[in-house]
C-alpha cells in the first residue's frame, strides 16, 4: 500500500536511524522517489540529526575548571604515592 506524506513524516526517524524492515524501506523509498516535498523533509530531518554535534561545547567556567583540576591533581597524587611524598 502507498505511504502517505503524513505517514512518512511519522516514521522518518526509523528510516534515518536505519531501523526499518526491508519492506518498509522499499515503501519509504518508493514514496521519496515520487515526492519532492518529502525528499526535502527527509533532508531537513537529517540536518536536524547532525545539527547538535555542530553546537560548540560550552567553555568550562574558571571556577569549575579549577575545582575539577584540583580533583584531578588529587587523583594524580593518589596514583603516584612516591611523588606526593616529595618535600
Amino acid at each position: 500500500m502507498m505511504l502517505t506524506c503524513r505517514e512518512l513524516t511519522e516514521i522518518v526517524t526509523d528510516y534515518i536511524e536505519g531501523r526499518m524492515s526491508l519492506w518498509d524501506r522499499v515503501r519509504f523509498q518508493l514514496h521519496l522517489g515520487m515526492c519532492t516535498h518529502c525528499r526535502a523533509f527527509v533532508r531537513q530531518m537529517r540536518l536536524a540529526r547532525s545539527a547538535n554535534a555542530a553546537v560548540p561545547s560550552p567553555e568550562l567556567t574558571p571556577e569549575l575548571k579549577e575545582a575539577l583540576l584540583a580533583r584531578f591533581r588529587d587523583w594524580k597524587r593518589a596514583q603516584d604515592p612516591e611523588e606526593s611524598s616529595d618535600p
Partner: protein, 237 residues
C-alpha cells in the same frame, strides 16, 4: 544497525543516491570519534595530562548535565553529581576494561550515581510511560490535506548541508536553545545519540528505557530541532 550503502540492494535504484545525499547510512565509524583517539585520550589521562582531562570534560559537558538532570532536577545538585562522576571515572580508569566505549562507560557511571542521588533526595522525576505504538506527529496536521499529502509543503532551507548549518552561529545557538527547552528525557536521548554517538541499545541501558521509547524520544526531539531550524531558515510562509 545501519545498513551500509554497499550491501543495500536498494542502492541500485537510480534515484537512491539522491535520496540519501545528506548523511543517511553514513557508516557508523564515520560518525563516532575513532576508537584510537579514545585510547590515546585514556593514555594521556593515565599519564596525568591536565589538558586531556579538561578536553574530555568540556566535550561531554552538555550530555553529562542532561543525563544528571533526569534524576536530580535541581541544576546545582546535577552539577555536583557530574563533578563527583568525574572523580569516579578517574578512580575507575585504570580498571576500565574497554569492553564498551569510554563514553558508554562514563555515562553508565553517571546515570547510576545520579539515580541513587535522586532516590536519596526522594525527588526522582517520575518517568511517565510513553504510548509506544502511536504514530508520532512532528509536523502540524494542518500542513496535510485529507488524503495525507502535503497541503503546505516544507519550506526550502537556504542552508541545506551540515557544513552550511555549522557555519551559522545563530542557527547553532537556536539548535542549542531548542535542545535546552526539550523535556528532560528527549534532551538526554538526543544528546547521547546525536552528539555522543552512543549506540541505541546502550542508551536504553543508560537511561533505563525501552527501545520503542528511545525511538519516540529521538523522533520528537529531532522534530523539535527541525522546527527550530525551520523558524530561522524557512523564510515567509
Amino acid at each position: 544497525v545501519l545498513r551500509s550503502e554497499a550491501t543495500d540492494p536498494l542502492w541500485a535504484i537510480p534515484w537512491a543516491a539522491e535520496l540519501d545525499s545528506v548523511g543517511c547510512c553514513v557508516p557508523e565509524d564515520h560518525l563516532a570519534p575513532p576508537r584510537e583517539s579514545e585510547s590515546v585520550l585514556i593514555e594521556r589521562l593515565l599519564a596525568g595530562d591536565e589538558e586531556a582531562f579538561t578536553t574530555l570534560v568540556t566535550r561531554h559537558q552538555r550530555a553529562m548535565r542532561a543525563v544528571a538532570r533526569l534524576y536530580t532536577p535541581d541544576p546545582s545538585v546535577a552539577e555536583e553529581v557530574v563533578q563527583e562522576t568525574w572523580v569516579a571515572i578517574l578512580s575507575g580508569l585504570r580498571s576500565f576494561e574497554r569492553r564498551s566505549s569510554l563514553r558508554t562507560w562514563m555515562f553508565r557511571i553517571l546515570a547510576n550515581r545520579a539515580r541513587s542521588r535522586g532516590e536519596r533526595e526522594a525527588k526522582i522525576v517520575p518517568l511517565s510511560s510513553l504510548a509506544e505504538a502511536e504514530p508520532e506527529a512532528i509536523v502540524d496536521a494542518a500542513r496535510f490535506d485529507g488524503r495525507g499529502m502535503w497541503a503546505i509543503p516544507p519550506r526550502r532551507w537556504e542552508a541545506d548541508t551540515p557544513e552550511a548549518i555549522a557555519l551559522r552561529a545563530e542557527l547553532l545557538a537556536a539548535v542549542e536553545a531548542a535542545t535546552e527547552a526539550l523535556p528532560p528525557r528527549q534532551r538526554a536521548a538526543i544528546l547521547l545519540r546525536d552528539v555522543e554517538e552512543v549506540e541505541p541499545a546502550e542508551i536504553c541501558e543508560i537511561l533505563g528505557i525501552t527501545d520503542g521509547a528511545l525511538r519516540i524520544l529521538l523522533h520528537r526531539a529531532r522534530g523539535a530541532i527541525r522546527t527550530a531550524i525551520d523558524r530561522r531558515l524557512g523564510g515567509p510562509g
